[in-house]
């Protein structure tokens, strides 16, 4: 009985965990750029979508070439032929996945490097404006260029790399494990990155780039590397999502996604990866709990469209955290160096160093 119930829950649990992994990769990379580097990359969804388009387009074109399908990647017969081909040839399909990940990471990194051109020249709020609208513009272009992801209709027939396992539940479980491994890998890489001397440089650039410059540090290089690494992790997250959904749809990549990811970073705590783990978990859980299908599980049918409530809560979270707890749920910690360990053990240093919040201005005439 217990086992049967668990068995029916598999699609729900695996979907949740895969989405958590994708959101985690997105929020960790945004945290690297915005939390540690102070670069307001609010066009994060654009870099995610690059990975998605690269993976979708590459896989569809190569498989089309193998199966010799006619009518281009968007035609339904070609899409059907791809999905039929995949279960019979596990090597090809797993190879395509690996190849997509590598190419997407590279292309994402290149776009991140390109984004560092305005990032070095603009004031941070102007940079935020530019990057937010890049997210919108990317969608406009892909909607109209049918060759990238079939425009408005969307590209289908991108087979899951574990489709050859035949049993859908087994496939979902295997893919979820893979997604979590990727998320864990991103976490480790970013953790190593920010705890290295380079991470300390990044923080110092965020706090005052002039001081970093006077100490002989190369500020543009620090910013460029943060954007390159962040964007390529975001692109890999996009690939993971595409192979899970088995399709790419341009209208999925709206600036709203960036804002949800931003709320995860702010809720968890800027410049704190453990906080982001928590923030992403809370917001993903919220995303899943406030959905019509979740309510119907409990036999409740709602008249309202609950998707709207989800975004209202996201907005409220952003404002409330900024107002009442700007450091987030878990505040920023000093960079983990061997020296810090020794200092902690000797009791020389307090282990916290978060955002300093100046005292309120007096309200004489407010």
């Amino acid at each position: 009985m217990m086992f049967e119930q668990l068995y029916t829950m598999i699609p729900f649990i695996t979907t949740f965990l895969t989405f958590y992994a994708v959101y985690l990769m997105l929020s960790l990379s945004l945290n690297l750029e915005y939390g540690y580097g102070g670069i307001p990359n609010f066009g994060h969804v654009f870099f995610e979508s690059i990975g998605a388009y690269v993976a979708g387009n590459l896989t569809a074109n190569l498989l089309n070439w193998i199966v010799a399908a006619r009518g281009g990647i968007c035609a339904y017969p070609a899409s059907h032929a791809r999905m039929m081909f995949a279960p019979l040839h596990p090597i090809w399909i797993v190879g395509m996945f690996v190849f997509s990940i590598i190419i997407a990471a590279l292309v994402g990194g290149i776009f991140g490097y390109l984004a560092s051109y305005p990032a070095l020249r603009l004031k941070e709020d102007f940079l935020a404006i530019t990057l937010i609208f890049i997210g919108e513009i990317g969608r406009v272009v892909v909607r109209n260029e049918r060759s990238i992801a079939c425009g408005l209709v969307g590209l289908t027939g991108v087979p899951n790399p574990f489709i050859w396992l035949r049993d859908p539940n087994l496939m979902f479980i295997a893919y979820t494990v893979l997604a979590i491994l990727f998320a864990a890998g991103s976490y480790m890489i970013i953790k190593r990155f920010v705890n290295s001397p380079f991470g300390r440089l990044l923080k110092s650039v965020r706090d005052d780039d002039l001081v970093a410059m006077t100490l002989g540090k190369h500020v543009p290089k620090a910013r460029a590397w943060a954007l390159i690494l962040g964007s390529s992790v975001a692109a890999v997250a996009g690939v993971i999502k595409v192979f899970f959904a088995q399709g790419v749809f341009a209208d999925d990549y709206v600036p709203l996604i960036t804002f949800v990811v931003l709320s995860m970073v702010i809720l968890g705590g800027m410049a704190n990866n453990k906080g982001v783990l928590l923030g992403a978990l809370v917001m993903t859980a919220l995303d899943f709990m406030i959905s019509p299908s979740f309510f119907t599980v409990f036999g409740v049918t709602l008249q309202l469209n609950v998707a709207y409530i989800k975004y209202i809560i996201t907005g409220v979270v952003i404002i409330a955290i900024l107002l009442f707890r700007p450091q987030g749920l878990i505040s920023e910690r000093p960079v983990e160096t061997p020296g810090l360990d020794i200092a902690k053990r000797a009791g020389v240093m307090k282990p916290t160093a978060g955002l300093e919040i100046p005292a309120e201005r007096d309200e004489a005439d407010s």
């Binding site: 307001p40 609010f42 305005p118 020249r121 603009l122 004031k123 941070e124 709020d125 102007f126 935020a128 404006i129 530019t130 937010i132 609208f133 890049i134 919108e136 513009i137 406009v140 272009v141 909607r143 109209n144 709203l256 804002f259 931003l262 709320s263 702010i266 008249q303 309202l304 469209n305 709207y308 409530i309 975004y311 209202i312 996201t314 907005g315 409220v316 979270v317 952003i318 404002i319 900024l322 107002l323 700007p326 919040i357 100046p358 309120e360 201005r361 309200e363 005439d365 407010s366």
Partner: protein, 316 residues
């Protein structure tokens, strides 16, 4: 090709974009906030106008006043509940920008929720637009006769308020250096409230006029935001006259410009937002002060200087 209709449309759209962007310019020049929630002030204005006219049955002018008031109240609430507390705590400008994104989400999706529940996801103010006089193959309508002078009137009033009254002087002082303005006895928070009410009011008015011109949905504010920002940034983000020029340039670029590109180069008209985006990037990278940064008198002097330099050669 008959140019009168596209030119007339461009001017109308340009006026609407200008009216929307004036508030953004005012926000940035007085409070230094890059306000993404500005889109929702426009959207609320549009909805209030449409609902008051269609359901309550007031005249269009009364509805526009209602839109002005509603958006002004919303703008004031935004500032009092979110921006002012953050500002008083000395938050960096980027925090205020992020807060404005949060406010945008709350207002936009609350509007979606109510509009969806009452069956008004798509709405248009029911006001007949009548043709006044023939103009080539098309007509000059009552809408254009109202919108274009109204926009210019708002700009003139704002300009006069800023440059020829004591309140305007205080506002400019506050924009320049808030602490210094405060020690000179200017009540900065009272002025701040006034500024936000003007911001909300003009945005609401623009949204109301837009809802007469075209069908609106709760996303229309957000979808116009790129053009609003482009117009304001083109005007240097701080100058009213710059914003007017910017607004009309965007109006022409998104209408006549994309149509020209479409006929000559086969560019899809769906790429219209790319023009606004290219303008934003170009202005940021090349001349962040926009049109406001172009000093006309020095430019004239330079031209004259050039002329003088040429003269001796002509004599010699």
């Amino acid at each position: 090709m008959d140019l009168i209709l596209p030119v007339l449309n461009s001017i109308t759209l340009g006026s609407l974009f200008t009216l929307m962007a004036l508030g953004l310019t005012l926000t940035f020049s007085v409070t230094r906030i890059v306000n993404f929630a500005h889109a929702e002030l426009v959207a609320i204005g549009g909805y209030v106008t449409a609902v008051v006219t269609n359901y309550i049955g007031l005249s269009i002018y009364e509805s526009l006043v209602a839109a002005f008031v509603a958006s002004a109240i919303l703008a004031l609430a935004m500032d009092e509940l979110a921006f002012k507390p953050l500002y008083k705590r000395g938050s960096p400008t980027l925090f205020l920008l992020v807060a404005s994104i949060g406010i945008d989400l709350v207002v936009r999706f609350s509007l979606f929720l109510t509009a969806d529940a009452t069956g008004n996801i798509i709405i248009q103010t029911k006001v007949p637009i009548q043709p006044l006089m023939p103009l080539g193959k098309t007509y000059l309508t009552t809408f254009q006769v109202v919108v274009i002078p109204l926009t210019l009137a708002v700009v003139v009033v704002l300009h006069a308020l800023f440059h020829y009254t004591k309140v305007g002087k205080a506002l400019r002082a506050m924009a320049d250096n808030e602490d210094l303005a405060r020690v000179s006895g200017i009540k900065i928070y009272t002025l701040r409230r006034l500024a936000w009410m003007l911001v909300g009011g003009t945005a609401g008015l623009a949204g109301g006029l837009w809802s007469i011109y075209l069908v609106i949905d709760p996303d229309f504010g957000w979808n116009s935001l790129l053009r609003i920002f482009a117009a304001s940034i083109l005007g240097g983000f701080t100058s009213f006259w710059g914003t007017v020029i910017g607004g009309y340039i965007i109006g022409f670029a998104e209408n006549l410009g994309i149509a020209t590109l479409n006929t000559w180069f086969g560019v899809s008209t769906a790429y219209a937002p790319l023009i606004s985006f290219a303008i934003i990037v170009a202005v940021f990278l090349i001349k962040p002060s926009g049109f406001a940064g172009i000093d006309l008198s020095s430019l004239l002097a330079k031209l004259r200087g050039l002329h003088k330099n040429l003269e001796p050669e002509a004599e010699g």
